[in-house]
């Protein structure tokens, strides 16, 4: 039932997922993909917490994951609302199109 893998392996898995998510954020221009990539990154960091928590057999890592989950849910709902706005105003999902304010 229990996989006693080295903690480093779990962390490396988290790091790989995170880096892939990062590449996705940097490469994709479609806001839907960008948001999905951000979800991947958040999920990866949550994974790192869970791995660390399980290494000590403590619940704290999972609690952090729950908080990250909450954050991700909020983020994606606001982000998708922004995507709707972007599409409604600029007729595109290209995130680079929304660069008028140079923010």
């Amino acid at each position: 039932m229990i996989a006693a893998v080295p903690m480093a392996h779990g962390l490396i898995l988290a790091g790989c997922l995170f880096a892939i998510g990062l590449i996705g954020v940097l490469v994709r221009r479609d806001i839907i993909f960008v948001l999905a990539s951000i979800e991947i990154m958040l999920n990866a960091s949550g994974l790192a917490f869970v791995v660390a928590g399980s290494r000590w057999g403590q619940p704290d890592g999972q609690i952090m994951f729950i908080f990250i989950l909450t954050m991700a849910a909020t983020e994606v709902s606001v982000g998708l609302a922004l995507a709707l706005q972007l599409h409604g105003r600029l007729r595109t999902l290209d995130i680079d199109a929304a660069s008028k304010m140079r923010g």
Binding site: L26, V34, D96, A98, S99, R102
Partner: protein
């Protein structure tokens, strides 16, 4: 009743705050109630404090009241502490008394003009600052009052700021006194650095223990304090601001000359007398500077046509007497003369103000004349003031105080016949220029009809101050005349007693007679030259001198302005011009330009593209992790 002491400076400050906050919303008819009332209540508090102080002197003949600790840095904990002893008591009473009457006079004098409330706000702040200065128990608080006084003088000299000349005069007063203030500040640093305290009583005690008389530290500390005092008291070589300070309204001149500001230097030296006693060379310098100043200013006063400028030079000259007294160790005589001078000088200014006001802002004495009958109150009070200024013997207050100074300049601890001779020459000049004013203004043919008469509000201060200009002298009668030194013996509770080298009653008598007769001779000369205008005499000093180089030199105040203009102002302006393109600033400009370049560089990265920013963050993370991992 001594606990009321804090009210004395607090009330004028409260008046200032009220007036400043209400601004123009306050109707003009309410302004005097606050402006004059605050100083009046302050006078009342001062009188109450004085009576209880005299009735039951506190232990050690000094009372100190700590209101709160100003700041606390290590061992440096200056408090907002008021310190009342004989010296500060005399100062406080004179300042509030004269200040109150000047305020009362101003209520009428300034009425109807623009900035009525502003004027009283400044005046109250002025009086409050001076009281802070006088009552301060440590030099830092004294410095606060000192700077407050400087600030108010700037504000009030430039009160009519629409005229650019007034602004110039205010700036000049501010800048010139700033020279002295800087020296005073350095003096404070020096004292704190070597004695570890700024509490005046402590530091004098420690200085007497730790510093050898004439040691370099004592000399430099005293010299720096002296320069500070010179700036504030308009003594050589920092006297040039005072004649130009006449640009302010007349009551301001009265306040600056009589109660506040210029006497601050005298007070500072008297207050720190131990430091000066430890530095005999500096004390001698005080005496010499006083003597030279009184003589030079006397000559300049003789040539001015502007009645207020005559009074300004006379103030410089009289403060010179006080410095002379301080220099020869006649501490009490200096304070005595300060007191009588406060009475008669404020009287003279206020009376001159009446003349100027009733002649529609005419300052030129040669365009006045014959006002004796049309302005009797102004004439009689001005006459009393002039008599007191020229030190008529027996009947005037100025006579007693000046006679006391002159006697001690001869016979005092550090006195010498030379200093006495200069003082006597100055007394001759004083009599001459004082009555020159009287004769030119009030006698002779009438050239201009007065357009308005002073009201009762103006009359009361004149009469009261005139009475004191006569009676103020009887508070301290010399040995030759009844020997009743009330003020001196009171002040000697605080100030060191005056040491007379060879106390001989007949010397004192002879010197007293000479000091009494010389002003009369001066007045007689003025009578001949300016009343009778006898050609035989007029050919002598006046006509030849008029327009002659000497006359012009005197008129221009010995050319100090010219000298400073050439020596300091022009080189400075030239340097400023030369540096117009900011040669020195190019380094800083370079920094600015570098910033602009980097800004352009960085604003190029501000594309508005989220992915671009994310790439920046990622790159930063990679670099930081790399540093963390591999370094």
């Amino acid at each position: 009743m001594l606990q009321l002491l804090w009210l004395v400076p607090a009330l004028p400050f409260a008046g200032f705050v009220l007036l400043a906050l209400s601004g123009r919303r306050l109707p003009d008819r309410w302004v005097p109630f606050i402006g004059v009332g605050s100083v009046g209540l302050s006078l009342l508090a001062a009188v109450l404090v004085a009576t209880s102080f005299l009735a039951a002197p506190p232990p050690g003949y000094a009372y100190s009241q700590t209101l709160w600790t100003w700041m606390s840095v290590g061992s440096f904990t200056p408090g907002i502490t008021l310190y009342l002893d004989a010296l500060s008591l005399v100062m406080v009473v004179v300042v509030t008394f004269v200040g109150f009457f000047i305020h009362l006079y101003s209520a009428e004098f300034m009425a109807g003009g623009e900035g009525y409330g502003r004027f009283f706000a400044y005046m109250n702040l002025f009086v409050g600052s001076m009281l802070t200065l006088v009552l301060a128990s440590n030099l830092l608080l004294l410095y606060l009052g000192w700077e407050g006084v400087g600030l108010c003088s700037y504000l009030l000299i430039g009160f009519w700021y629409q005229d650019s000349y007034n602004g110039y005069a205010a700036r000049k007063a501010f800048v010139v006194t700033r020279v002295g203030d800087a020296a005073l500040a350095i003096g404070l640093f020096l004292i704190f650095n070597s004695l570890g305290t700024l509490e005046i009583q402590d530091l004098m005690r420690r200085a007497a223990q730790q510093w050898a008389p004439g040691s370099a530290l004592a000399l430099s500390a005293a010299a720096l304090l002296l320069v500070g005092a010179l700036g504030k008291s308009a003594q050589l070589p920092l006297q040039t601001w005072l004649p130009d300070a006449m640009a302010g309204p007349t009551p301001v001149s009265a306040l600056i000359h009589a109660a506040t500001m210029v006497t601050a230097g005298v007070y500072l030296i008297a207050r720190t007398n131990v430091l000066f006693a430890l530095a005999p060379a500096v004390q001698l310098a005080v005496a010499v500077i006083g003597a030279v100043t009184l003589l030079l200013a006397g000559f300049s006063a003789l040539t001015q046509w502007d009645i207020k400028r005559v009074l300004a030079y006379s103030t410089i000259s009289q403060i010179g007497y006080m410095f002379l007294a301080l220099g020869v160790g006649a501490w009490t005589a200096a304070i005595f003369h300060f007191m009588t001078h406060a009475f008669f000088k404020s009287l003279l200014f206020l009376a001159a103000g009446v003349v100027i006001m009733s002649l529609d802002e005419e300052h030129d004495m040669f365009k006045m004349g014959g006002l004796r009958r049309s302005l009797p109150l102004a004439f009689w009070t001005f006459l009393v003031g002039a008599a007191s200024l020229s030190a008529l013997p027996l009947v005037t207050a100025g006579g007693y105080s000046k006679e006391s100074i002159l006697y001690q300049a001869w016979a005092g601890q550090a006195g010498s016949p030379w200093l006495w001779a200069v003082g006597i020459a100055g007394a001759f000049l004083t009599g001459m220029y004082s009555f020159r004013m009287v004769f030119l203004t009030f006698f002779g043919e009438m050239k201009q009809q007065p357009s308005k008469k002073p009201s009762i509000d103006i009359g009361i201060p004149l009469v009261v101050l005139a009475a004191l200009s006569i009676a103020g002298g009887y508070i301290d009668l010399p040995r030759t005349l009844g020997n009743l030194p009330i003020l001196s013996s009171f002040l000697q509770n605080t100030l060191p007693p005056t040491v007379i080298a060879q106390p001989a009653i007949d010397t004192e008598l002879v010197l007293g007679v000479i000091a009494g007769v010389v002003p009369l001779i001066g007045i007689y000369f003025a009578y001949l030259l300016f009343f009778q205008r006898r050609p035989a005499y007029a050919d002598g000093p006046t006509r030849v001198a008029r327009g002659g180089p000497l006359y012009r030199l005197w008129f221009a105040g010995w050319g100090f302005d010219w000298l400073y203009d050439r020596l300091i102002v022009r080189p400075f302006v030239w340097a400023a011009r030369a540096d117009k393109d900011d040669v020195i600033d190019s380094v800083y400009d370079g920094i600015t330009r570098l910033n602009v370049v980097f800004n352009n560089l960085l604003s190029g990265t501000e594309s508005g593209r989220v992915r671009w920013y994310a790439a920046g963050i990622a790159l930063g993370a990679v670099v930081v992790i790399a540093i963390g991992v591999f370094a």
